[in-house]
């Protein structure tokens, strides 16, 4: 079995990009530690990591719920009007038989952020209260792996481009859901950036 390094394991880090073993100083609040050799970001110290991540992920869940339930964009061309919600595009693609695209958009813009936010609340609420929930370790791993598939900020750029394209021929009215979705993008980015690996994994080890 692989074993833990016995001595001062918290300050020993191996760079994921160049495999350099190095001792990192105990970081001051907000400070970033980069690899001595390749410059990769090794660690960012976040004060009150768990509390911040918890607060932001609860806020993110509320905003995501609003973004899904209320009108997203309304459009009118001449007399014709269209009312859409966040998932209208996914439904339309699915009905066209473009199930691959529909699944991809649904996953990257709704499902991935929803799972990430839910799992953060699921793990950090108990951790804050002083116990470790069941399956906390797979949940934290899932949050990590979903990072690259959560593409909400790219979706926002897509909305801007589509809006410019349609603005010449139609009137576009952004709904509450769109503002909510925009807020969620910043909130989820903040929540993920608040996860201080050292703090979270040490807390988990100490409690279990």
């Amino acid at each position: 079995m692989p074993s833990h390094l016995a001595s001062s394991r918290d300050s020993l880090v191996i760079c994921h990009e160049c495999d350099l073993l190095q001792r990192i100083p105990s970081a001051a609040a907000g400070s970033r530690v980069t690899c001595a050799r390749c410059g990769n970001l090794l660690h960012r110290h976040v004060p009150d990591s768990i509390e911040r991540a918890l607060a932001l992920s609860i806020a993110g869940l509320v905003l995501l719920a609003v973004a899904n339930l209320l009108p997203f964009i309304d459009l009118s061309i001449g007399g014709a009007e269209a009312h859409t919600t966040l998932s209208t595009g996914v439904q339309a693609l699915w009905q066209e038989g473009k199930w691959f695209l529909a699944t991809l958009v649904l996953f990257t813009c709704i499902v991935a952020p929803l799972i990430q936010l839910s799992l953060m609340v699921y793990v950090f609420l108990p951790l804050r209260a002083g116990f470790v929930p069941a399956l906390a370790r797979p949940a934290l791993r899932a949050i990590h792996h979903l990072r690259e598939w959560n593409m909400v900020e790219v979706f926002m750029l897509g909305i801007l481009v589509a809006a410019v394209k349609l603005a010449k021929m139609a009137t576009i009215v952004p709904g509450i859901a769109m503002w909510s979705f925009m807020g969620m993008i910043f909130i989820i980015a903040g929540a993920l950036a608040s996860i201080d690996r050292q703090v979270v994994w040490n807390r988990l080890e100490n409690l279990s």
Binding site: P2, H4, R9, L20, L21, G39, I77, E148
Partner: protein, 218 residues
């Protein structure tokens, strides 16, 4: 190299883990978070080449076939990614044209070129600027997701312009190929192991009698 000391770092929780002799023959799991550990990613070069080649093949239909199909009062207009860029240029929205060009045409090609460069340099045992090559790798990892913007634009247009005979937008066949290119290049960037760049540098240094020391910092 941490591996020379029989150690590897967990990519998920940063735990330093001892790698035993027969690593590679069986799956190694992190004792702290339970994630799978790879001292070096498995078959990194072969897998990355395979994904890069697949993406290159899909890049052609993604750009040649129409990505949107607009039907308005019985008139059908099909647009490719490039003709979409020209549409925005002609209508004066050059900044949108730039966004689409960069995200849909430039970024996927840049990623593929950079990955090929990294693969060839590692296979040839190059010692050329390892720090800069690591930086190039970081670029391929970061920019890839922005290529999805065209897929989202199509999705939003399909959602909004849905008035039957009057005006209707459908996703064209290129959309699926293009989405595949984006996903495959993301997987390609992930399967490449940047530590291979540094393995070459250190093995050459060892031959020349100046072993790369692991740093200790206070």
């Amino acid at each position: 190299m941490a591996l020379d000391r029989g150690l590897t770092g967990c990519p998920i929780c940063d735990q330093v883990v001892r790698v035993d002799e027969e690593h590679g023959r069986r799956e190694l799991r992190c004792p702290r978070c339970g994630g799978t550990l790879h001292a070096r990613k498995t078959a990194s070069i072969g897998l990355t080449w395979a994904l890069v080649c697949t993406a290159l093949v899909f890049y052609v239909p993604a750009n040649v076939l129409p990505i949107t199909r607009v039907v308005s009062l019985g008139m059908v207009q099909e647009d490719t990614i490039l003709s979409g860029v020209f549409y925005f240029l002609q209508t004066g929205s050059w900044y949108i044209a730039l966004v689409i060009f960069v995200a849909s045409i430039f970024v996927p090609l840049l990623k593929l070129v950079l990955l090929i460069l990294l693969l060839v340099s590692v296979q040839r045992g190059s010692r050329w600027r390892p720090r800069d090559r690591t930086r190039l790798y970081r670029i391929t990892e970061t920019v890839g997701r922005w290529s999805m913007v065209d897929i989202y634009v199509v999705t939003i247009l399909v959602a909004l312009v849905n008035f039957g005979f009057l005006a209707n937008v459908d996703a064209g066949p290129a959309a699926v190929f293009f989405a595949a290119v984006v996903i495959i290049t993301i997987l390609a960037a992930r399967s490449f192991d940047p530590r291979l760049i540094w393995d070459q540098v250190e093995s050459r240094q060892a031959l020349q009698g100046s072993p790369g020391e692991d740093a200790d910092r206070e």
